[in-house]
Symmetry: C2
Subunit: 239 residues, 2 copies
DNA sequence: TCAGTTTATTAGTGTAAGCTAACACGTCTT
DNA sequence: AAGACGTGTTAGCTTACACTAATAAACTGA
């Protein structure tokens, strides 16, 4: 050992932060994040993931079951949520204070989230009034590491006639986001599923209360996460 | 060679950006930046500098005369000024839009300057009204890479009776900056040198037109860069 | 001018993180 | 139950950038 005592809590590197974030996303609906899924999301080769997995489980951020996958430990989850908070606050700040479009913020936030201090994030959060959702409708974890768990369903799964509020848009793809914004499909809008044709085909929806109908392909409808409109909200203008 | 053609213009790394910045500062008043000065400013060991100097001159960003020092090439100077623009715009944005004190912005800007895109910097610059000076009074290079060269003298060198405008504060030390702000010694204030005692001793100045006298030690006075007040500005309120 | 000091460079090592090629494990199918 | 295939892991290499120890060049003072 070259140094007498190896640094007990070295600061997380940019790479580590990225790995924790994608492992969080991949393992959020249950189970394990697999090596190849991680590799796919980070656009690195699978052996690179194996190497990092070794380091992350050595430092206690993840739990690794060989040939099965990884899960975050409590500490890993804390760090992941911290990064997600940073990312989402940054996205909101860039759109609200600096005129970014919701399809352009992702890349910028992706780089900034590794460089900002916690203090700066909290200043931004204050300037934005301690917001709960980012521009895509995703919930922003609190500084304490709590995140809202909502029961949402993809528009693709909603029955004809359902009245829904669009809550989250599950993509960061700029072209798709631009298209959705054009169609008025942004978090908060009220929707009525008016038709679905032929079998498992495109979904026709109407913007409620009085908007024009839209036709959305099945793949897109899979990305539009909605909740049923609570009775007391029906027909009220957005506050 | 593993790749057929090695990437002709790889993006600058954070380290490279830092080296270019300090070489710019060290060589701005004439000559060469020496290995040990660079090492001192970056807080790395001299051999690390030798290694980096090799790489930087291989890629044409600096000119190296062994055992003498280095200078920026035109391209290196462009990159250095780009980083300085980023840094100073960030400092101004953080102080003006997010309530940072002028003694706290430096560290934050230091990390952010490597992560922001040029587009974000220009948005910030617009939000700030295309400013010319950062919170410490240092000129902000233009996006095209021009920087204002001003003739300033340290307060320490000013004769008794001189009427001066404080233009720049040549330190990033938080404690000193806090002290100066307390004393009302920020860029733009008008000063009159009222005394200097005994020989080469502390400088007594008065805040013009009617302020209280301040006593400033010689070391501090060395950091307060002033210009003589042009006649047409005398006594006019700051615009 | 020459020895001694200061400063710069070279040599060799370490760590983080990527890669390709080769090998191992699990699962799925017949 | 046995291959065959896909996915995961190991081995070994590369680049960027730091470090220490050893060496070389340049300066300086008697």
């Amino acid at each position: 050992m070259s140094a007498l005592t190896r640094d007990a809590n070295p600061p997380l590197t940019k790479s580590v932060e990225d790995y924790l974030k994608v492992i969080y996303h991949l393992s959020s609906q249950g189970g394990f994040a697999t090596t190849s899924d991680i590799a796919g999301m980070l656009e690195v080769a699978p052996p690179s993931v194996s190497g990092m997995v070794k380091r992350l489980s050595d430092t206690g951020l993840i739990e690794h079951v060989p040939y099965r996958g990884v899960q975050l430990t409590a500490q890993g989850r804390r760090e992941a949520l911290r990064m997600i908070r940073r990312h989402r606050i940054l996205e909101l700040f860039l759109t609200q204070q600096l005129g970014y479009d919701w399809d352009g913020v992702h890349a910028e936030a992706e780089r900034l989230e590794h460089a900002v201090s916690d203090g700066l994030i909290e200043r931004m959060a204050n300037a934005l009034g301690q917001p709960q959702y980012d521009p895509h409708g995703d919930p922003i974890p609190t500084a304490a590491g709590e995140i809202e768990e909502t029961e949402l369903m993809p528009l693709a799964d909603a029955p004809v006639g359902a009245k829904l509020e669009l809550r989250q848009v599950g993509t960061q793809d700029a072209a798709r986001l631009r298209y959705l914004a054009d169609q008025g499909l942004t978090p908060g809008v009220l929707l009525v599923v008016s038709d679905r044709q032929p079998f498992n085909g495109p979904t026709t929806i109407a913007l409620a209360p009085s908007g024009d109908p839209r036709i959305v392909g099945r793949d897109l409808a899979q990305l539009l996460w909605c909740r049923e409109v609570p009775v007391e909200d029906r027909g009220r203008p957005a506050t």
